[in-house]
Symmetry: C2
Subunit: 449 residues, 2 copies
């Protein structure tokens, strides 16, 4: 049995004990988990039990646990805590993590926390807080260990042994000049494997580029992925070293982006809590349903224009959902592809036309293939050749229209600074519904009446 | 201007030159990019240009570039290469990367590559190949640096200096007994900061658990995230150290999982190439459209049962897409939540009932709120109170049904070992369409006729 199994079993047992109302063993078992595991456990609990367990977490773990929780859950638990507890939780954290947490804390608590820090830490915290949390500056920690280029590795080693423990995830020291400008990185393994009388300047990596503090978190993540980085230096606009970003923070960015796209396409926030209270969840989802309702009425209005036609050929009403639905599927597939392609930087103005041509080609092939199939089934079902013709033709046209919408709508949304993952799906589905009904009933009116 | 900007500008310039047919500068610019960047550039190109650029990549980069490409693109390029080129590409890779690549190579080439390796490397490669690529064993590299517990840090340092360079991403040495059994980890920073006469046994971390080689890649990724790991030892069933996993491989797993869920919910493979040739893309998407067509016909069949009703009250045909569409949105939101919740291990048998109750509550609130709205609009539009009643009631019922389907379908799919992200969306949409039409037209028949 793996550790992972044991751990999942432990969480399962915890949950059983909890529902059995047996609190003492729960509390004891909780102490055996690390903050990330406690956060995982809390996330898997419904709100009432979650609050109960939260009370049992030791105060010195509170800060770390809060950090590992999705924002929507974190906010709920913070509301339950009093100021003293919040300050205690904040004090246990590293500077970059503390900066993340402060965003969610009430103003009064933030002031108290800042007061409780020593001058050094306060200065470092203020440095991180000065940057947008969604940039390299917001992601960074300020706990860099720096050396000068003109000393020998032997000196570096003596300095390190004097200094004692290094900050977590330190895989390299950074080499800076006397003004603090970044010159290069000195990986720990170089210190260990190269001759001790070598100078830092001769051993350091000069090709690890520093990340500008203003760089977007998304670009930082792609940079880490492309170069397989563990940590990277962050510099301000003058090239002065201001901190470093470590891979664990980048992993959070990557995970969040993956979830963002999937959840957005369903009209959800990426931190939507599976166990959110009913009323809160109803409100969040209700907005999306309301938007969809408007678009559904738009489609219904189009159908309404053809009431007279439907009254004469009821089969049109029977078949019309098919044309709309096939268009919706086609468009949504392309939106998913475009959203990912844009996130990976694959879609430029230059390739837009090419993609449009490709997707129109794909839609035409599938339109003809499935159009003929639909027409054949319709003919067998209703024994009306003109009706079969109408649906086949409408399908081909709607799939082509869906292809165009699937490529162009995400591009337009991006141009206007809107999120293609969130708005793209609902817009293209509206387009293909409206167009599907219009094409099918319109052609029906022309050909069948 | 940041490095990232410079790099994106470089890629843009490359693309412009390429379309200008000016090959020499393209080739020169290509040499300035690292393999990950070249892969990114290739992915953003349509097939014809992609093949052209691929010819220009230096042979010693071929292997690394192939590894950074999505599988669908990689396979296409491999087909173009001859055996000699493939062997050359493979020889440049690390063992774990080589193992990944071998999966895609033709059998004859694999044999040649194995022949070309020295005995040591062959043995290491075979060790990795023995494990499923989707497990810790498949992810691991075998380049661990090991030490014994009973030596001093001073001895370790001398050993390292004799040995020279450490493998990439080495943040710790592993401590093993004489049989190779894993005992603990010796982080590089401990070697640098602790007294040189300390014994390894006293300094090493005993609490970094080894990962069983059979553990699933998904669980490995969650373990790395929970404990913020950079690298971790992998052991076989007897506790013998067989390799290590580094975070860069885990990042790939996390990225792929995020994409998998979004793409699956749209019925796409996660490695679907944005620039796939039209015919290939048409075939892949066509299958999904075909499945959707069957479900659309099922819905149409239900509508067909009510032809007589529609013939008398044409307004029913006008309004019926609304009920179906609102149900589809509701169900798909819940599927997205469930898919993520199951991936994060939040959904157990114990919480299923609770989630069902919660989602029914959410659906009831939104059903009543939007049901009343829809009824009001319908009344204004058609001035028929009974019709307004029918649509309001149908909406409430269909949203409740959608909530149940959204919770239960993903759970059932998982129970049967199927992918909820892939099948969940199409199944619940079918359910809510069929049910939506049935409820609305059925109630219409009962109340209006």
């Amino acid at each position: 049995m793996s550790d992972r199994d044991t751990q999942e079993a432990a969480i399962r047992r915890l949950r059983e004990r909890l529902s059995g109302g047996n609190m003492l063993p729960v509390k004891r078992a909780l102490h055996a988990l690390n903050p990330a595991e406690i956060a995982e456990f809390l996330t898997s609990l419904p709100p009432s039990e979650r609050n109960l367990v939260w009370e049992m977490v030791s105060p010195e773990d509170d800060g770390e646990v809060l950090l590992h929780l999705p924002e929507s859950i974190r906010a709920g638990l913070i509301r339950q805590m009093d100021t003293a507890e919040l300050i205690k939780a904040a004090e246990e954290l590293e500077i970059d993590d503390l900066a993340d947490l402060l965003e969610d804390l009430p103003e009064t608590v933030t002031r108290e926390v800042l007061k409780a820090l020593d001058a050094d830490d306060r200065a470092r915290l203020e440095k991180v807080l000065a940057y947008d949390p969604d940039t390299a500056g917001g992601l960074m920690n300020t706990d860099t260990v720096t050396v000068r280029p003109d000393v020998s590795l032997d000196v570096v080693q003596r300095y390190l042994r004097l200094r004692g423990e290094l900050p977590a995830h330190t895989d390299a020291l950074y080499v800076v000049d006397r003004y603090g400008a970044y010159l290069g990185a000195l990986p720990l393994d170089k210190i260990l494997t190269r001759a001790t009388d070598e100078l830092v300047a001769n051993v350091m990596h000069r090709d690890l580029p520093a990340i500008p503090a203003q760089e977007k978190a998304h670009d930082v993540a792609r940079r880490f992925e492309a170069a397989d980085l563990i940590s990277a230096p962050v510099v301000d606009s003058k090239g002065i070293l201001v901190g470093r970003i470590t891979i664990d923070d980048v992993v959070d960015v990557i995970r969040a982006e993956g979830e963002h796209n999937m959840m957005s396409m369903a009209g959800l926030a990426e931190d939507e809590d599976l166990f959110a209270p009913v009323r809160q969840a109803a409100l969040r989802r209700g907005i999306w349903l309301g938007i969809n309702l408007m678009t559904a009425f738009a489609a219904a209005w189009v159908v309404g224009r053809f009431e007279a036609t439907i009254a004469q050929v009821v089969a049109l009403a029977v078949l019309m959902p098919i044309v709309a639905s096939m268009g919706g599927i086609t468009a949504n597939q392309i939106v998913a592809l475009m959203v990912r392609g844009m996130a990976l930087g694959q879609v430029s103005a230059g390739t837009a036309l090419l993609l449009l041509r490709k997707e129109l080609g794909v839609a035409l092939i599938n339109g003809v293939a499935w159009g003929v199939t639909v027409a054949a089934v319709t003919w067998l079902w209703f024994s009306q050749l003109p009706l079969a013709l109408v649906i086949g033709l409408a399908l081909i046209l709607n799939l082509s229209f869906a292809a165009a919408a699937g490529v162009l709508v995400p591009l337009l949304l991006r141009r206007f600074g809107l999120d293609p993952a969130l708005a793209g799906s609902v817009i293209v589905t509206t387009c293909t519904d409206v167009m599907g009904f219009f094409l099918f009933l319109g052609l029906g009116t022309l050909i069948l009446l």
